[in-house]
Subunit: 486 residues, 2 copies
């Protein structure tokens, strides 16, 4: 039986899985939908998604992309045109067989991803080199039937963006693939406060239909990996399947080279698992629906005056672009503190009659220094400095979260050169090891340890050795990263 | 055979239907998707949607609403819980019967609207009067099987927002219903430059499951009506079907009163049909992806200097928040002018070597004064006044579009008191007439004239008379509005 804290939450340190589910529900991020494996994203969780969308979308636009919308329904036959693609996605498809009161002549697949339908449209739109590159992104919902659903991490339906670009040649398409991987990594660090390892997937972990798949991998607080975004170079696979050709400057017909790249509501799961603690959510300020919560303290006349001052300061903060909330509920400060800790609000501001008299607020960070009794060290800030000081406090808090996550990851990542060390390492973190590159050896490692190759890191040093499992010569020209994964 | 202009577009004045389809495709707003009745919204069209979303969403937030996301798939049995609702939507449903390689125990309906699944969630979330009101909106895609699809106006899948609120009593829910109707009407006028008639639907035109349905109706340039947004008071119909109850202040259990309200990608169709002309799209500035297009003119050195000046002014405009594009294509000015007219850009700015020397730009409005040869009257604006002057030009252009649409509507709306006048009037516009209120009489009018009751206008004067069709005493206490509709 797990030991729950006063809010009824199992400590993360005891049972991550129970902790995760309880936090998701109690912080009102999401709920289970009636149909198996579906989720309802509640306003608090959806606001995180809106903040994520806005900041990621701006990066797409800054790199020359435009948004569009493609249909939810795809004729089943389209999926079959690219052999690897249909093999990869068939087991996960939801299929519409009846519509408008009749059985359909051809079943419609609910999109699991849109390479096929977009391939069809690009083949209609692209004729000349003048039409290239095509740089389109789409924000939408996709469906992949999940046997073991988990809110945000693996749901039957999820929200995401899928970028789809078409280029004249391989070089340009590869440049785009790497550019978008970089955008994801920068976004994850700058906005979600999660340092990511950028790397390439081994052939066994590639996207169905891709020539090369790149990934950003974050370490969660239990040492597991979470794949948080992928960018694929699709070569001419879909161009051939859907006849996407253009006439080049020499008047010769060529296939385009395409890419696709996606990030989803899974990223909210990454935020929960990369930063959370026993008290609940820890939200990075740039994704926090509420960045500052103000808790006026006191009863009677004094309390009213403190509450009025809190409202006044909150209005100034709001005008300065800070997402602020004043908690006027009829409840004890202790209850409110725990509640906002559960919800992961970065800064809590207390303001009671004595503070009012002293002309300052008391600021507590959701994560920060604690005294020798384990209580958060609070900071007194004069009214005059408070509003102008909050943005810097939030930025510093963001930087602290990045650094904390990076330190945690580095402490839980080791280069290993023998099997015992490997087994021990992947139980709690990432192992950096040589591998032979054979899919059957990957499978063998997975059944022995549950660990999988997360990526061939872009940054690893060139090196050769023998496989951590089978002693065959190493592939990839460098060590690769293994870990258990969500 | 229709007479097409130099861009291959049938004049609106000759064949609205052909004109509409050609404009949608040639202006690259949208394309047909592979699955029957689906549409692909291309970047130019999707940018209109993004601008609409941002400005409508802000109004929802300003009135206290928050966004959330509910699942695409709804268990079929849910639809059956509200009798009118299932009767209304059954013929239009798309049904998933297989998923994950297996036949499902219970088929899943692809949401045609989300009252049912949201009803289920609200019944879980709401327990006390303290939980009310619940003010949630969702942006998503819905599917309604269409036999005669038409891009933006009636597609199998469309994008929309659906607001769903729950309240303690009827008064509060009715206030919300009317507030959101007002938000739609104000948005349509202020952003889309379309003056709307606000009114209530007759019982035969109500939303399936609603107690009262309110609508905004716009007049298109062929005199037809387009229902552009609806707001429903649902009473306790869904609260009873899904057991959404709360404990009131007296500790008694009560059903909540709910509302729902929606506006969709159909609104893009409204913009096309309310403002367009023989030359193509006419976009209102607040929804125009490009508000100002700059066309540098001239070749050789002089042309280069003019192009550089155009880029310089465009950069200043962009910094001032104006959506501007400089057309550097290697094509004739005449071709470019027609192309940007087709695409409906509000202001075209020409800048050639002589203008550069004179220190001014030449501004042409997409819709504006013409000289006695039918050519647009152009305006010379000195460089020094141009950038700061554009926002006011755009605002004035917006106001002109509203006024033009309002004048057109008023000129094509008549009070009629005999059947011959009614028949003539609904052939080209709106007829304001008495009606008995009997559904069979509505049906009779529809088969005789294709006209339907658009709404009982909120603003109409109290009056009594005899039915325009059957001479029975009038219902509703006022005249109502009839028209043919999209």
């Amino acid at each position: 039986m797990s030991k729950k804290n006063q809010l009824g939450v199992t400590p993360l340190s005891e049972d991550v899985s129970a902790w995760y589910n309880e936090i998701v529900f109690k912080a009102e991020l999401a709920d289970r939908g009636p149909a198996k494996g579906t989720m309802v994203i509640r306003p608090y969780g959806y606001t995180i998604w809106e903040l994520l969308q806005a900041q990621l979308d701006q990066r797409f636009k800054d790199t020359g992309h435009v948004n569009a919308y493609f249909p939810l329904f795809i004729p089943e036959s389209y999926l079959h045109r690219e052999a690897d693609h249909v093999e990869g996605f068939s087991p996960e498809l939801a299929v519409v067989t009846h519509a408008g009161g009749k059985e359909l002549d051809e079943p419609l697949v609910v999109r699991p991803t849109s390479e096929t339908v977009i391939g069809e449209m690009y083949s209609r739109w692209i004729t000349s080199y003048r039409d290239l590159p095509v740089l389109i992104n789409a924000w939408n919902n996709v469906v992949r039937w999940e046997l073991r659903p988990r809110i945000f991490l693996r749901t039957t339906e999820f929200l995401w963006q899928e970028g789809h670009t078409a280029h004249a040649d391989q070089q340009e398409a590869m440049d785009e693939t790497m550019q978008m991987l970089g955008v994801y990594a920068e976004f994850a660090r700058t906005v979600a406060a999660i340092p990511m390892i950028e790397g390439e997937k081994t052939p066994g972990e590639r996207f169905a239909g891709a020539v090369r798949t790149f990934t950003i991998e974050g370490m969660m607080r239990d040492g597991k990996a979470l794949q948080s975004g992928t960018s694929h170079y699709l070569g001419t696979n879909f161009a051939q399947a859907f006849d996407i050709t253009y006439t080049d400057v020499n008047n010769e017909v060529q296939h385009v080279h395409t890419t696709s790249w996606g990030m989803s509501t899974r990223m909210i799961g990454a935020v929960i698992l990369a930063h959370g603690d026993d008290q609940g959510l820890v939200l990075p300020p740039r994704l926090a629906p509420i960045q500052v919560v103000m808790v006026p303290i006191g009863r009677d006349e004094d309390g009213v005056a403190a509450a009025a001052k809190a409202d006044e300061l909150a209005a100034e903060l709001k005008a300065a672009g800070v997402r602020v909330h004043v908690d006027h509920r009829d409840a004890s400060p202790g209850f409110k503190f725990s509640d906002w800790e559960l919800k992961g609000v970065p800064l809590r501001v207390e303001l009671g009659p004595r503070d009012l008299e002293a002309g300052h607020v008391v600021v507590a960070h959701r994560v920060g220094e604690v005294d020798d009794k384990g209580r958060a060290v609070k900071q007194q800030i004069p009214f005059a400095d408070f509003v102008s000081g909050v943005p810097a406090l939030l930025d510093a808090y963001h930087d602290m979260l990045v650094e904390r996550a990076e330190t945690f990851r580095d402490e839980n990542t080791s280069v290993v050169d023998n099997w015992d060390a490997f087994e021990a390492q992947v139980a709690t973190g990432f192992a950096v090891a040589f591998h032979c590159g054979r899919p059957e050896c990957e499978d063998d490692i997975k059944s022995a340890t549950k660990a999988t190759p997360r990526c061939i890191p872009l940054e690893g040093e060139a090196a050769e050795g023998v496989c951590i499992r089978c002693d065959n010569p190493s592939a990839y020209g460098k060590r690769i990263i293994f870990g258990r994964a969500y």
